[in-house]
Amino acid sequence: MRWSRPLTLAGLAVVPVLVLGLFFVLPVSGMLARGLWPHGSFEPGGVLEVLGRPRVHRVVWFTLWSASAGTLVSVLLGLPAAYALHRLDFRGRGAVRAALLVPFVLPTVVVGVAFRELLGEGGPLGFLGLDGSPVAIVAGLVFFNVSVVIRAVGAAWESLDPRPGEAAAALGARPVQVLRTVTLPALRPAIVSAASVVFLFCATAFGVVLTLGGLKYSSVETEIYLLTTNLLDLPAAAALSILQLVAVVSLLVVAGRLRAVPDPSVARAVARPRRPARGDRLVLATTALLLVLVAAPIATLVTGSLQVEGGWGLANYRALATNGTHQALLVPVTEALVTSLRTAVDATWMSLSMGLLVAVLVTRRSRTRTERRVRGALDGFFMLPLGVSAVTLGFGFLITLNHPPIDLRDSPLLVPIAQALVALPLVVRTIVPVLAGIDDRQRQAAASLGAGPLRALWTVDLPVVWKPLLAASGFAFAASLGEFGATSFLVRDEHPTVPVVIFRLLGHPGAMNYGMALAASVVLAATTAAVMFAVERLRVPSVGAF
């Protein structure tokens, strides 16, 4: 009895911890070790020297403020949209929700090109002179991340008990005051988690900063990339990676503090979405603006993909079944799409099964302070993949997973595993709030009636969690479809995924290859939208509090 709880804890933790240890901690620490022990002996001096460089200070400062700005704008634009899309009821709501998720999976290469087509000197918005400016970078960050805010906060808003707000109104509070004094404080945990995840995504954004910043700006992530792939300056890369890890861990700790756990045993009244009223005009206008912001680059992609030799046509789409002009590709895009979908299926079940284990692990009620600490630490541990550069991970695989019996450097499994690791935090953050909301006494009631632990899980947890689980799988699937950084490093030549193929098409001259790249991006976006829309149709009531 006394040991059974720690044993259960350890039993649940063993698989995810092993996987993360083998495919994340080991490679990353391998790379860090190369930097800290550059000539076989421990030389932390190099690392300290790097942190003193003025350039590094500039890079860190830029990363901080661009990520903060990206997060702030995402939250400011995302909140009204979350309200409109989760508390109001209007035609096409589901479609808009799905559409706003599409950017989440688009490869940054493509989005970079699309944004530049839009903002560039000859583009429709060229007169704004934003090309290569920090504004363009922040716009790109918002484009990618606003959907996270909408999802997470929207889900919390949907399940928010409307009665305290009604009580405040009855006490004479104007709608704005209700929002400020009751609604926003109640949403704080969801807003904080969403903002912290968005901040992580922004701070580790890679392609956006490179493409849209016109090389004038460097973030910690791009700097690590350059130091590793170009200069092979591993001590400097290690210094920045450590800095990044420390920052990520402290952010997670702060966010964890701010993210109070709601009392699970309170019965909630849930409001039904209502028809928009006059007072919602501002909110709806913001949502429309956001939709335009998201739609404009995608529209550029679509029109670009339909342009053939000065005219219009579907030739670029028809060409997707070929290898491109001058054999740019080994396999047609159609085949790559099949590979992408299959890999995404694998990545999805991997991240889902690991995510479920982790979620169960961290939400079980702790009996002692130590146990609570262990669970909290595990919760944070599985968020870490968000904070490490794909190139560090990729090179780390090469230098650590290279000895039998774990020489996995060429294993085709690495791609879905890496993608699963990227999707894991999303899955965990989607399921944890739901599991945490289940009254533990339900499980105890089942146990007292003779149900074993698995049976109790089946009776109590599964009915509540299966829809969020489906939503999480949609997220994981989409994240896997769009993953480029780690995939490009690990992918097998005969089986490239669509983002990898798009990248290759863009890397070869020829107008047809460019058109095909755009067409392939549109196909990828459409596939994602379809998956997301299907998940939306399941009408998941309350999903995705990050």
């Binding site: 698989v15 996987v19 083998l22 090109v113 087509e117 560039g120 000197e121 000859g122 583009g123 290569g132 490179l210 493409t211 016109g214 090389l215 004038k216 350059l226 792939t229 170009n230 200069l231 092979l232 670009g304 342009q307 001058h326 054999q327 740019a328 590979t339 979908l341 299959r342 890999t343 299926v345 694998d346 079940w349 099964s353 690991m354 090179f395 090469l398 230098i399 290279n402 000895h403 039998p404 019996p405 774990i406 020489d407 996995l408 060429d410 294993s411 085709p412 499994l413 879905p416 595993i417 490093f489 030549d493 089986h495 990248f503 863009l506 890397g507 070869h508 001259p509 460019y514 058109g515």
Partner: protein, 356 residues
């Protein structure tokens, strides 16, 4: 590092992860199947731009008796660093795609084993200076050159620039777009061209260039497709950094002239090499592949499949190339050892100049 161990480990990992049954459309089962251990494979490690027609791959496999397995990832720099990091315990038998700007780094790290290759006629000219024990075999070459949109200049009654100096001429203000040296190997080549041309004064040249409105992008594709007037998009800049072969791709249907041309006095030569990896399992296969890459068939296929010129003499070029892709006679060059020694400093200084 036997491959049966590899398969075992893969299976182990799969079992570890198989807490939930994989769905029937999953790819795991199928992919594990082609992990069958096999000793008659030759594994080529290369960069993203590598490509050979299927016919030639089949021909090599038939002639050598080995199955060719290709692992491509990243650009030339990533490839070189990957090879350095896995020195002695490589992920393949042979590498292709290390160029003259990264070659010294790999030689210093003993990545490649010596191989007494027999070079085709003409290829000797491209051998890496300082590679005395024949670790690297030249396979192809190409030049990074400034390209101009001739139609644009004709429309604007302006004579196109011809030299590096011209690019700082106010007449060409805001017309040049190029990928950055830090993020693009093409951009790096141009930086090296300016180092070769101006010596220690190269930062002054770059200051003038940036002062004249040159625009930097992250990658070549960005510069060419988005900003260049002939790139197919809505670009507005008629001068772009690209390759000596690029004009062959801007010949309109039914026309017999290209819309663009390369400025042959602005070029930096890139040579790509192949070599047997130190610690290779299949040395014989690796050597056979290197010989094959130098064979007339492969050399003839290089322009179409990798947009580069053969190193061997007497190879027939494709019709478009023969007419429109002109190679410079005297491109800029920098000693590979110098590149290896100064790359960091140059890039750092370049970043300072261009972001000033």
């Amino acid at each position: 590092m036997s491959s049966s161990f590899r398969a075992l480990a893969a299976k182990l990992a799969a079992t570890l992860l198989l807490t939930v049954g994989a769905s029937s459309c999953s790819a795991v089962g199928e992919k594990s199947a082609d992990q069958t251990p096999s000793s008659d494979e030759v594994v080529l490690v290369t960069h993203d731009s590598f490509g050979l027609p299927k016919k030639l791959v089949r021909q090599f496999e038939a002639e050598s008796g080995y199955t060719l397995v290709v692992h491509r990832s990243g650009d030339a720099g990533t490839l070189a660093n990957k090879l350095v990091l896995t020195q002695g315990n490589p992920t393949g038998d042979v590498a292709f795609g290390v160029d003259n700007t990264f070659a010294s780094r790999t030689l210093d790290a003993d990545v490649f084993a010596p191989y007494a290759h027999s070079l085709p006629a003409g290829a000797d000219d491209f051998a890496l200076p300082g590679d005395d024990d024949q670790r690297l075999t030249p396979v192809d070459n190409g030049n990074v050159c400034v390209n101009v949109d001739d139609t644009w200049f004709a429309d604007h009654d302006l004579a196109p620039p011809t030299s590096l100096d011209d690019l700082t001429d106010p007449a060409y203000e805001d017309l040049f777009v190029l990928p950055g040296a830090a993020t693009s190997s093409t951009g790096m080549a141009f930086l090296l061209a300016t180092v070769a041309a101006y010596g220690d004064a190269w930062p002054d040249y770059w200051a003038d260039l940036m002062g004249n409105g040159a625009k930097l992008t992250a990658g070549w594709e960005d510069a060419y497709y988005v900003d260049f007037t002939q790139g197919g998009g809505k670009g507005e800049r008629p001068i772009v950094l690209s390759y000596d072969s690029s004009p062959a791709f801007t010949v309109p249907k039914g026309s017999d002239t290209s819309n663009t041309s390369a400025l042959l006095d602005t070029c930096f030569e890139q040579v790509e090499y192949a070599g047997v990896l130190e610690g290779a399992e299949n040395v014989d296969g690796a050597e056979q592949l290197i010989d094959f890459l130098g064979s007339p068939e492969v050399q003839a296929a290089l322009p179409e499949s990798m947009y580069v010129f053969p190193v061997a003499d007497g190879i027939d070029l494709p019709a478009d190339w023969a007419s429109y892709a002109v190679q410079p006679s005297d491109p800029y060059a920098v000693d590979p050892a110098d590149i290896a020694a100064h790359r960091d400093d140059w890039l750092r200084e370049w970043s300072d100049v261009t972001t000033r």
